[in-house]
């Protein structure tokens, strides 16, 4: 097995790491102490910016820059930790929260102080019951030790922290939908602008970051931006926890330095597809990323290289699809996910996901014409760029990429299914055509 880099996951197997005693024994909360007692909030932001740490939730935006957008002033400001990890293929935040909740809490408190926020929330998906319980216990411990609450470490900074559980809706991982959901509403994305940094939670300036991003914060502060930048590539600094799943022999979370070849992750770490199988295609960044082919595995796994390949690194979740999987069933499975999770607010997403599923079902049943595959592709184009948030595009991008890369298979699948349906119809006495012996 290839070697992993161990930064975020350094002590992950340490028994009892989720308790404050063990975390502190391993040097936990020292970064918080450093940040609060030796740095001004502006210096924290500058350090984060200098580190080049990019958001690990999907968009890959510079974390420090995002924090720098928070307005100064005495209004109520908020920090939200996005722990609604729901993108198919992604399960890294689950691990980080379950095994090392205190590093996340430490990161949240540092980031909140940097952003001038005195109320922080962890929005954790409702299905993560175990992780929510662990976080709640950890927050209570941190509060008891004075790392959360009023006047933290005597610095005069107050950060209150509440763990807020969702209730089952993928869209709440979209940052503005998360805000609506946290305000007790349906999780509908909001129009931007206003951006959350100006008007977010409860109409106050709000900084929203992913679990992995915030878990990196204590590392950046403790070891410094320079140390952090030495890992990864120039534009994708640091390490990344990659979730690998699907048709591989060792699915799991692997920490890597960004920029290593994807093949090393898929084959070296995750063992590649089962014996006798080949990689048919793979999603480099969760199910919303356009699929790449086997030959793309030799590209470096980084934000910029995946973009060059026409896809994206997204949340860093690699789903491997082997050659036993019909592409139509994959496309349909992806489309059904996004149809189910579309919030219904904007027209192209609501109707486009629904229409796409119906067309794919028709292709799957053999009831389509080649022109339908053209229409399917155009519908994806009509969704892309026209929606309120990225959910519609999240279906359109992978589906389009599958049509582009496996068009012949779509046509052949439809033909085969049509022939099978005809045989059945004949068997059921619905056709005068002779009964096929195979039916």
């Amino acid at each position: 097995m290839a070697d992993q880099t161990r930064v975020l996951l350094d002590d992950i197997d340490e028994p009892g790491l989720h308790t404050i005693e063990v975390y502190e024994r391993l040097g936990g909360y020292q970064a918080l102490r450093k940040a609060l007692t030796t740095m001004e909030p502006d210096e924290i932001v500058a350090e984060l910016q200098a580190s080049g740490l990019r958001g690990r939730g999907g968009a890959g935006f510079s974390m420090g820059q995002k924090a720098s957008f928070m307005p100064k002033g005495t209004m109520d400001k908020y920090l939200c930790c996005n722990a609604d990890e729901s993108e198919p293929g992604t399960f890294k935040d689950r691990l980080l929260m379950q095994k090392n909740p205190h590093r996340l809490i430490e990161g949240i408190v540092i980031a909140a102080v940097a952003a001038g926020a005195n109320r922080a929330f962890i929005y954790i998906r409702g299905e993560y019951v175990l992780q929510a319980d662990i976080l709640n216990a950890a927050v209570a411990e941190a509060r008891a030790r004075g790392y959360v609450g009023a006047n933290i470490l005597g610095s005069g900074h107050d950060v209150d922290l509440v763990v807020h559980r969702g209730a089952g809706a993928y869209i709440c991982g979209e940052e503005t939908a998360l805000l609506d959901s946290l305000e007790g509403k349906r999780g509908n994305p909001r129009l931007k602008p206003p951006f959350p940094a100006n008007q977010g939670l409860f109409r106050g300036p709000t900084l929203i970051n992913n679990v992995e991003t915030l878990s990196n914060v204590p590392i950046v502060i403790a070891k410094g931006a320079e140390w952090f930048k030495q890992r990864g590539t120039e534009k994708s600094t640091g390490t990344k926890v990659v979730s690998v799943s699907g048709n591989v022999q060792r699915p799991g979370n692997y920490e890597i330095e960004l920029g290593i070849p994807a093949r090393e992750i898929v084959y070296g770490l995750a063992g590649g597809p089962p014996p006798g199988r080949k990689v048919k295609c793979w999603f480099p960044g969760g199910s919303s990323a356009p699929v790449l082919l086997e030959e793309d595995l030799d590209r470096p796994y980084s934000f910029e290289s995946m973009a060059e390949a026409g896809s994206m690194l997204g949340s860093g979740a690699i789903i491997v699809v082997d050659d036993s999987v019909p592409i139509v069933s994959l496309a349909l499975r992806v489309a059904r996910f996004y149809r189910h999770e579309s919030c219904g607010k904007c027209v192209p997403c609501r109707e486009g996901t629904n229409w796409t599923v119906k067309m794919l079902e028709r292709i799957d049943r053999g009831e389509a014409t080649p022109m339908d595959i053209e229409i399917l592709d155009q519908v994806q184009q009509n969704i892309m760029g026209n929606c309120l948030c990225v959910l519609g595009d999240s279906m359109a991008m992978p589906v389009r990429s599958m049509i582009a890369k496996f068009k012949d298979e779509f046509i052949a699948h439809n033909e085969r299914a049509r022939e099978a349906a005809d045989r059945l119809a004949v068997g059921a006495g619905l056709s005068s055509e002779p009964v096929d012996a195979a039916a």
């Binding site: 992604t90 299905e127 799991g252 189910h340 059945l424």
Partner: protein, 230 residues
Amino acid sequence: MTPEHGNGRTLRARDPVAADHLAGAPEQAATPVPSVPAGWDRSADLTKPPATIPDPAQVEVPEDLRREIEEHMAKYPDRRSAALPALAAAQRVHGWCSPEAIAQVAAVMRVTPAYLSSVVTFYDMLNSEPVGRHYVYVCTSVSCHLRNAQALADAMKAALEPGDDINVREFECLGACDMAPMCDVDGRYIGPVDPSEAPDVIAAVREGRTPLPGRGLGDDGFHLPWEQES
């Protein structure tokens, strides 16, 4: 309908009579008649009064539930933020977000029942219809789909017996693709689960046992089959 699409084959397959005949045929051949989303056909019951914010004097709320909701409300700058935790609490008491459960939450939170209904029906984990008190969510999303999750879901459903107080449901990505195929039993993730183990899982839930001990995320010594034991 444009002529170029109107081939006889698709029309025939869409014919409801044909669909009926095909009902017993293998899956890929059956044309689903478009379903009506629950509620679309429903008329308002004009004998009911409008559902305004309930007067606390008219709604009895179990004391523990009231206290829990009020504690949630106190955690946020706006009391409405407590909607999800409050509804989850009421669902624990009532088994689902029944009109009675919603009325109780509405009375404590001082919001209209419709506000809460709107929230309940948006989220997959809140039930707007009565369901079993235990749940088994089988993840059938992309990564699990690639590892034969459908067979697991079917096996779970087949293992149910009449009278089981269990809500078996196919669920979208549960964030445990490494455990695929997997299921979430009352908040405990177990996996990978072989379809042949489904009857045992259901029986355990039925009998109040822990299904597949040691195979749950968070169980002592839990590890995936291909991981070294730590």
